[in-house]
């Protein structure tokens, strides 16, 4: 069943970002697509925007959005349409490592 812009979709917020959502782990967002849902999320909680999007308004590289159990990059990205019963999650990917040359210590 398709949703309308007035239908709300729950989006799960990672623990450290809950300081920007009043401590809430799930926020109901409205919108017919993933992009509209994210727009509504950052409209409700503007301080989240800098953590999710870069200066050009593109999702940061380490920020992945899952629609149920699928990464939206493998669907239609932010144009992916939302249906009733869908759930969204903000999922970071993590990387790093030590400097190039071994250190004697």
């Amino acid at each position: 069943m398709k949703t309308s812009e007035y239908t709300r979709t729950p989006i799960h917020i990672p623990a450290p970002l809950r300081s920007y959502t009043g401590g809430r782990s799930t926020i109901e967002v409205k919108g017919g697509s993933v992009g509209e849902a994210l727009e509504d999320l950052t409209h409700q909680f503007p301080a989240l925007k800098q953590h999710l999007f870069d200066e050009e308004g593109i999702l940061r590289l380490f920020v992945n959005i899952y629609l149920n159990d699928e990464d939206i990059r493998y669907l239609r990205h932010t144009s992916t349409e939302l249906s009733a019963e869908d759930e969204l999650s903000i999922v970071p990917s993590i990387a790093g490592g030590c400097p190039g040359n071994p250190t004697i210590f």
Partner: protein, 147 residues
């Protein structure tokens, strides 16, 4: 501040030694409290890097999503990550900073020297993402946060 138990730190050290000379990585599960990040469990995860595994680690979004669902089922949150620095000090590198994710997570690093796990340190990313700041580790014996 990272609050945890000695057996959790031992498990991280053991994982670092087992993975040597490659980097290990995993999740810190617990709860964000008024005192900082309480870590009640550590969950190892596969280093998804295909090359330079002695100097790099990567945790896929898919693995994070799966771990997050498992943590939620147990009543925990993912409050941070750990990884090892084989033959390097337990300090964040430029790579760690460049590839860091959201501020608010605890980033624990264990140095592994010649196969022996040594110091564990904890760090948090400044809100402006400019650098990591050292986070004290408090070892507690009492379990005062339950899932």
């Amino acid at each position: 501040m990272m609050q945890t138990h000695s057996d959790i730190l031992d498990a991280i050290r053991m994982h670092g030694a087992e993975a040597y000379p490659e980097e290990c990585c995993g999740f810190l599960l617990g709860r964000i409290t008024e005192h900082g990040n309480y870590v009640g469990a550590a969950m190892s995860v596969e280093n998804r890097r295909e090359t330079s595994r002695e100097q790099r680690f990567s945790i896929s979004a898919e693995d994070f999503h799966r771990a997050d669902l498992a943590a939620r089922e147990q009543g925990w949150d993912i409050v941070g990550f750990y990884h090892s620095h084989p033959d390097h000090p337990a300090r964040p590198s430029a790579t760690d900073l460049a590839e860091a994710t959201f501020p608010g997570y605890t980033y624990a690093i264990v140095s592994v020297c010649g196969g022996d796990a040594e110091q564990i340190t904890a760090w948090s990313l400044r809100p402006d993402r400019s650098r990591f700041e050292s986070e004290p580790i408090e070892i507690i014996s009492e379990i005062f946060v339950t899932p």
